[in-house]
Point group: C2
Chain length 364, copies 2
């Protein structure tokens, strides 16, 4: 996928780190845990305006990371949302200052289960505290504070990234002026949770899982993690997309390769913590949630894709309806795409233009 | 699901066995293997007419078995298709003589990977030969020969059972006068094969799999088999069905229970042999296949269900279209049902009545 105007995209970028919680200023978590040391890995693209009013916050999905755009040395290996972010692209780095952090509980630079527990010096592993989406937002709010950023022009996220942006709107009403929620959900279905349960079973029943203490045994639950990733991929792509891209002959080796490459970059305990958080995510169960979002008066664009059977149009329609009931009109567009849930990472017709137009509007 | 007219259903039934291949009359398999001893487990219901013209052959799905109707001692635990088969039910045992065999390669009475290899006295395990659907049909043709049955009034099967009935029509044109193919397919999609690949990965990567020689180690690949079954169940039920039946709270324990109970009754090598056979099934790739079916002039009814995302209406439409192109008109009815692929085991509106009416027609 190339940029809309054929630009080259961003060049070399680097991942930075910030400390956002310390023993003097610990992070108290929604479910009761406390983290006395939290680091955040993040990247920024573009230039912060003198008025500090051109910030776009990008929130990544379950297995994403801070490296959303540009490259780390090899120009052919680009960040996960390079088609969306860059000069002249929908999240236009000629205009916006983009902040892209890794999430709390992650395994790619931000504090998570594979980070050392300050009390023991060893990885937290299964002792990492349970998280809610509001904790992820709290860490990124602290990051923006550290960076000296107040109001946010827009929050943009796909899938679980969209869920974080939605949570932002309630947790600090008015700070994020616009939100783009792509292929997001406010509540997993029983089927979504079922696939999650199978993936968790594969990981936790792997003899190398050791109750989450695999690091202490010098192993990883590779078999289970591979099965989990192969399965997840099937839910990210539509049947029609699988047929067109891989076909009957190619599907097995494609899934095998996806599963194998995942092992090199992802931590099983992170997967479990985030999957449990997703299973519990149901913010509209709190009657005050929608009203808090509405009180900030954000402009919200929800986008969904026709062939997405993970968080398809019904998911977006549900959150749009809940917000509308609280008096906040939300623009919802369903886009035609054959690529299933993964469409949010690609460039189906109309998608990038919609995002570009929405972000380009003057701040209200 | 009770019978259509509120009958009690069949009473006590027993599983019988027949030997259908011997060293003197071995079974030569489509892919080159030879089996010198084949036993078939089967049940029969109803009475064979003096003219031997009232036979209905029932073919079961991937994990089914010969015990399709009635009970084995506990009247509350019924065969897997008890709602379909019995006195006054669509496959009416007051009228028809029903033969329900376990399939070749199975693990519930018919010769398969867990049976002793006559050459060694130990279970075949991974040395069991590769099978094609035509081999499964060959074994059941031999069974009917042993039972003294010539023409078959109807073959009835759901899912993989429907695939076997379709193969029957080509392998012995004219012998099966009518065929009911429920939620069947003539060709798996890449997505179907993807789910199969994940299930196989879970089984074969289980350390207790031992390359298929788990019996020699006194273990079973329980972790992998459980994950495979949990996953399969998700593909058998629609999202809407999962929501209605189990909901967000119940889905994980439901899948766990399904996975656990599977371990007691199913063999991993059988699962693998049959999954590979399903992956390869593509009979219309042979241009002569449809013509062979048509030459027998069978009446064919294909049924599909709206919410079936495993072998849904597109699968039935494909096989109907291929048969029609060969000059054999096929009746295809899509039935509304919320229960996904599993609908073929249940009683959505109109389903049983359709089957009953089709079977009740006079033999052409």
């Amino acid at each position: 996928m190339s940029g809309r105007h054929g630009e080259e995209g961003l060049g070399l970028v680097t991942t930075q780190r910030a400390v956002v919680a310390t023993p003097e200023d610990p992070l108290r978590l929604a479910r009761g845990g406390v983290l006395e040391h939290v680091e955040v890995a993040y990247e920024t693209y573009g230039t912060l305006s003198p008025a500090r009013d051109n910030v776009v916050l990008v929130a990544h999905a379950l297995t994403g990371h801070a490296h959303a755009a540009g490259h780390h040395g090899d120009p052919t290996r680009r960040g996960w949302w390079d088609s969306m972010i860059g000069p002249g692209r929908p999240v236009d780095t000629d205009r916006f200052f983009v902040v892209s952090p890794n999430l709390l509980g992650g395994c790619q630079g931000t504090t998570g289960p594979s980070s050392p527990d300050p009390r023991t010096g060893r990885p937290y592993g299964p002792d990492f505290p349970e998280l809610e989406t509001t904790d992820l937002v709290a860490v990124h709010r602290r990051l923006l504070d550290v960076l000296g950023i107040g109001p946010v022009h827009a929050g943009v996220g796909g899938s679980m990234g969209g869920m974080q942006v939605l949570q932002w709107l309630a947790d600090e009403p008015g700070r994020v002026h616009r939100a783009v929620l792509v292929a997001a959900t406010a509540r997993l279905t029983a089927e979504n949770m079922g696939f999650s349960a199978v993936a968790r079973e594969a990981i936790t029943s792997d003899p190398d899982f050791h109750g989450g203490r695999y690091a202490e045994h010098g192993v990883i639950p590779a078999r289970g993690l591979k099965v989990a990733r192969m399965l997840a991929h099937l839910t990210y792509v539509s049947a029609e997309g699988l047929e067109a891209k891989y076909g009957r002959e190619g599907i097995e080796s494609y899934l095998q390769a996806q599963g194998d490459s995942f092992l090199e970059r992802f931590d099983a305990n992170t997967y479990l913590v985030l999957c449990r958080l997703l299973d519990r995510f149901d913010p509209f169960a709190d009657p005050a949630f929608a009203a808090r979002v509405a009180s900030g008066g954000p402009e919200v664009l929800a986008l969904s894709f026709t062939s997405d059977w993970r968080f398809g149009t019904a998911h977006s329609a549900y959150l749009v309806e809940r917000l509308a009931a609280a008096g906040l009109p939300v623009e919802h567009v369903e886009l035609a795409s054959a690529w299933g849930h993964d469409s949010f990472l690609l460039d189906p017709p109309g998608y990038h233009a919609r995002v570009a137009a929405f972000l380009a509007r003057a701040v209200g």
